[in-house]
């Protein structure tokens, strides 16, 4: 069966510090991978998606970047965090666009 792992679960970082959130998928190959950010108790905003190694599409201009160094690994990064980067970050995978998403358990990021 397929599983998705996302870590860390919570993170408190000072303004200006770097960020690296990691997401890995097991039990499947060539998944579509996504990073979302969710405002408190509300809908999800797509940040990045990837259909293959090294292929990253950015949905919104921001202080973040994403990379896919391996088929089942997706990383969300920032060189210098802003207060506005605080939020709940979710990684997800799908077989293709017609299938549902399986989400990771999320990372609560607080920038102080």
């Amino acid at each position: 069966s397929q599983t998705i792992h996302q870590w860390p679960a919570t993170l408190v970082q000072p303004v200006g510090s770097p960020l690296s959130l990691e997401c890995t998928v097991e039990g499947t190959s060539n998944p579509n991978l996504y990073w979302y950010r969710q405002a408190a108790g509300r809908g999800l905003q797509l940040l990045f998606y990837s259909v293959g190694i090294g292929q990253i599409s950015s949905e919104v201009p921001q202080n973040l970047s994403a990379s896919r160094p391996q088929d089942r690994q997706f990383i969300l990064s920032s060189k210098k965090l802003l207060l506005s980067d605080s939020g709940f970050y979710l990684c997800a995978w799908s077989r293709d666009r017609n299938y549902g998403y399986t989400f990771g358990s999320g990372t609560r990021l607080t920038v102080v």
Binding site: Y36, G43, L44, R97, G100, S105
Partner: protein, 109 residues
Amino acid sequence: TQLLEQSPQFLSIQEGENLTVYCNSSSVFSSLQWYRQEPGEGPVLLVTVVTGGEVKKLKRLTFQFGDARKDSSLHITAAQPGDTGLYLCAGLPSYKYIFGTGTRLKVLA
């Protein structure tokens, strides 16, 4: 900008009551999904509907996709405290899903 609006935003009901949550858009979707999310967790897929007018049932939950594939509803019969959570719809207009604004449901025992 394509939007998926959900209503109501918040709903608090007593155990045993019925409820309906709506997901509306001006865009046509090739498929639509419903998710439930609990605090501090990622959303969990409940159902995917792809055909206009399609109705799917999942125990006490009934999902309907509008005939024109622009809207959907989720009906819960005899709600239970375990149904509490954030319900999100997500529509596929082209190559990626867009998520609705969410309905936060609280079922009181």
